[in-house]
Amino acid sequence: MKQVLKFFKPYWWMLILILITTSVGVWATLQLPMMMASIVDNGIIGQDESYIISEGLKMLGITAIGGVAVVGSGFLAARIGSGFAKEVRAATFAKVNSFSQAEINKFSTASLITRSSNDVQQLQQVTILILRMVLQAPIMAVGAVINALATAPNMTWVMALGVSAFFVLIIALFIAVMPKFKIVQKLVDKLNLVARENLTGLRIIRAFRNEKYEEKKFAAANEDMRRINVWINRAISLMQPMMTLIVNGVLLAIVWVGAHEIASGNLEIGNMMAFMQYALQVIMSFLFLAVLMIFLPRAQVSMARIGEILSTKNSIKEPENPEPFDQNMKGIVEFRDVTFSYPDADAPILSGINFTAQPGQTTAFIGSTGSGKSTLINLIPRFYDVSAGQVLIDGRDVRDVSHEDLVRAIGYVPQKGVLFSGTVESNIKYGAPKISDKEVLKAAEIAQAEFVLDLDGAFKHHIAQGGSNVSGGQKQRLSIARAIAKNPEIFIFDDSFSAVDYKTDAALRHALKPITRDKTVLIVAQRISTIKAAEQIVVLDEGHIVGRGTHQELLLNCKVYREIAQSQFSDIEMEREMAAIRVADRKAAIAKDRAGVNYGQ
């Protein structure tokens, strides 16, 4: 709550100003009945025409002042409300930007989006509403009560009676209707559920001629819905006539009691008429306070939802004394006894991970879904931090390196191609804004993204929000081009090749060879064909490394790897693979034997 409310701070003087303008507006409104009273008492009963005119002109002046004040309040309310929303929005966005993946997961992307847009918007609406209309209610109530006391102190009890009747009505309705609203929400869900079931199971229902049964089920929910809606709406439609009844009753009571007061000389007629106006204003003010009670909880929910974002602490911390990389960094990636578990998870998703990825080599990760391979490489750019152990680049713990230095060394290609609105060029240049057109073209060529040249405007082609106007495969290739353009020391391909076909996959790997000659390449893959040529393949199963080596070595020694291979290769292919390996193996054995013999000699 506090985190959000503090954004009102820059507007404190406007808040004071609006308090003043609102008070002036209220003062003007309250002045009128009083002056009307003196017109009646002195002007009409006292038979003074000039008094009526002069007092009337005064009323006009006060009306004008009041009008200006209320317009001013409206202006201020709009400025404060939208300005406050602007600050909250900016702070929320910046905060979410600073989040690590752990915090994003905690809220879910969808929820963060609605919080940053809808909830902020809701807050703006309610703020303006409160400032413009509800703020004046308490001021009006106080002012009207004071004026009422001044005009007819003996009749205030009539006013109090009216207000209490009002409250009883509102509270009674509230108590009666609110629980039913919750039931309605449940019934809507139920109706939706039944209809959805009918829709999703349409083929089966048709096949078994089950339509009547479905219709009956729906009709039952429908009837429940109708009944409760009738009840609620009838209860609510009680509101208007009852309110009118109370207001009229109060007016009548004022006249009746007023007659007695006038007879005993305690009250002037004009004052009685003024009192009627004041009583109405007081009742209306209290009605607005009641409305506030309805609006406030909604704003509170939104505020709490935003406050939750703002008060969330980032689990990834920048080092206090960051260590820089060497001028000519190599890009050696080393995992040392790494264990990782997601927040609030029981079992670690990775444990005991040890390996080193050398520059000039490709290190590949393979394993079934949920084996932890994507999680593993997410630890390198610090999407998450390890739970135990260390991730080192060139011997430095990634947690001791500044975020800027760390990500500068990494070219990352996500699982699903992610593009941003702009042009093809702006997307490729995203990680390296200063590169030349030639370099952009080269990156696109390597990434097999020649399709760009056929696009309208080529590299200046417009990319829609989220890249929705290019295909999945194209997105993926542009994502790869973006990573290449950055010319990093370490490439991370998070299962980035599965969206492209086998041919492109092969061409891509071929084209990547020359530029990754002295780079560290880490690839997560599904297809063995993608990583067959990798210098080091790490096989993961349920968070453990179960095999490490080349394709050949693993086919011979690693059961999990062999199973994956068997599921992807046809029998003949498998046979051929194994035969080739056996030949290679025998050759190696013979060579060893010879060596042994030689040694023996």
């Binding site: 300005g83 979410v96 999703t200 709406n233 750019p381 990500v407 929000q465």
Partner: protein
């Protein structure tokens, strides 16, 4: 005055309801109807077909609504009569007090001494006294006579002035009341006519209760009808689902059909009861109030009626101007929401490629232009209420001045002014409702069009 505020609140409330799509937060519903029907006439006709079987109930609703409104409109005038009675009695009491002040303490007047008789008596006595004094002066020595005559003249002037004032007070009282006051028996203190006041109060209570009862009965019946219609819509849709060819659903998301069952049918039920009852009561109210106002004074009615087109002109101007900003706000909101979605969804990429700063810069740009259009549209749409309030206050002042002037000349009574002020205050609300009714009808039509469209799809041939 206050009822306008309630209207606006209702609008904002309606506007804050969750709508389709993430960007469903715009300006007041009055300016941005939830969607426009392609063929308004056709869908309204189809809707009327659905309502046909409830025609007797709807007719009852109509009669009850009119009755409730008529009773409600009558009451301010009757309340005004009560005030008039109080004013009359008050003047009598005051007259009595004025007369008694002049008499010596504790003196009483014989029964049947009216104000008219009293002033005759006073005149006679004054003449007698004058004669006596004149006689006395004559008997005085000459040098003293001059001083005595002067003194007498002064006394006479003062006395004349006093009786003139008294006569003036009576003269200004309207004719029918003047005779009443002239015939006022001064032998005892007059009081309020509580008998009359009590009877009128009872009559008023009766009217209030009747009006509330008819109003509630109207709402009660109407709710039954609209919910029955909603029920039938939902039932028809659910049955239609099972009669449509399967391929119909290949191209359409389920959500679309589901939203017709819930959102659209809800909109129809809500707007139907709103538009039906508001149309009747608003029109009745406008006519009724006009009649009542005219019965009090055509001059005052003229002033009150002038303020209406004045407010309407202002509203049209403001709506036109603010619409531009609402459009801009909607666009900026689209931009910013799109940016938020994009950046949040690509969070990892933004991080690894160091795009945070640029994302925030772009966001700030969008945020600034959103802020710019947001405050302008909010300010302009918020102007509507204070300007209407200002104009209605102008009307109030004008009515007070005009009414005061007419009252002095005995053309209207104080109770009439009081009633008139009540009428003027009630006048704005039905006019606003009528002005808004086209929007309500539009959204009813749009929602029912979507439902009828679905119900009219070609069915599977058996």
């Amino acid at each position: 005055m206050a009822s306008d505020q309630t209207e606006e609140l209702k609008k904002i409330q309606a506007n804050n309801k969750p709508q389709r799509g993430p960007m469903g937060h715009g300006g007041p519903a009055a300016m941005m109807p939830g969607g426009k029907a392609k063929n308004l006439g056709k869908s309204m006709k189809q809707l009327a077909g659905y309502l046909k079987e409830y025609k007797w109930r709807l007719l009852t609703v109509l009669i009850f609504a009119v009755a409730s409104t008529v009773f409600a409109i009558m009451s301010p005038k009757i309340l005004g009569n009560m005030t008039n009675q109080i004013v009359n009695d008050y003047i009598k009491i005051k007259t009595y007090d004025t007369v008694m002040e002049k008499l010596p303490q504790g003196a009483t007047l014989p029964k049947g001494t009216t104000v008219a008789k009293l002033s005759d008596l006073m005149k006679q006595q004054a003449e007698v006294e004058l004669q006596m004094q004149k006689d006395a002066i004559v008997s005085l020595p000459a040098e003293q006579q001059k001083i005595a005559i002067e003194k007498l003249n002064n006394e006479m002037a003062a006395q004349q002035k006093q009786s003139q004032e008294f006569a003036n007070q009576l003269k200004n009282v309207p004719q029918d009341q003047r005779s009443e006051i002239e015939n006022l028996d001064l032998s005892q203190k007059p009081t309020m006519n509580y008998g009359y006041l009590g009877q009128t109060a009872l009559l008023l209570i009766g009217l209030f209760v009747l009006s509330a009862a008819f109003g509630y009965a109207q709402g009660w019946i109407l709710t039954g009808v609209t919910q029955q219609v909603a029920f039938r819509f939902r039932r028809d849709i659910s049955e239609k689902i099972n009669r449509l060819p399967l391929k119909y659903f290949d191209t359409r998301p389920f959500g679309d059909v589901l939203s017709r069952i819930t959102n659209d049918v809800d909109t129809i039920a809500q707007s139907l009861s709103q538009s039906l009852s508001q149309m009747i009561t608003s029109v009745t109210m406008i006519i009724g109030i006009l009649v009542m106002m005219l019965s009090i004074s055509w001059q005052m009615t003229g002033i009150a009626v002038i303020t209406v087109p004045l407010s309407l002109i202002f509203i049209v101007v403001i709506v036109k101007r603010s619409q531009k900003y609402f459009k801009q706000q909607q666009d900026s909101l689209g931009d910013i929401n799109g940016h938020i979605e994009e950046i949040y969804a690509g969070h990892n990429v933004v991080k690894v490629f160091g795009g945070e700063k640029r994302a925030i810069q772009k966001f700030n740009r969008y945020n600034r232009s959103l802020h710019e259009s947001a405050w302008k549209s909010q300010f302009l749409s918020g102007l509507m209420f204070p300007i209407m309030n200002f104009i209605s206050n102008l009307g109030y002042v004008a009515v007070a001045m005009m009414g005061g002037w007419l009252a002095i000349n005995g053309r209207v009574s104080i109770g009439d002014i009081q009633a008139f002020i009540q009428y003027v205050q009630q006048f704005n609300q039905p006019i606003m409702q009528v002005a808004n009714i086209t929007n309500v009808i539009q959204s009813t039509a749009a929602a029912s069009e979507r439902v009828f469209e679905f119900l009219g799809e070609e069915e599977e041939k058996v």
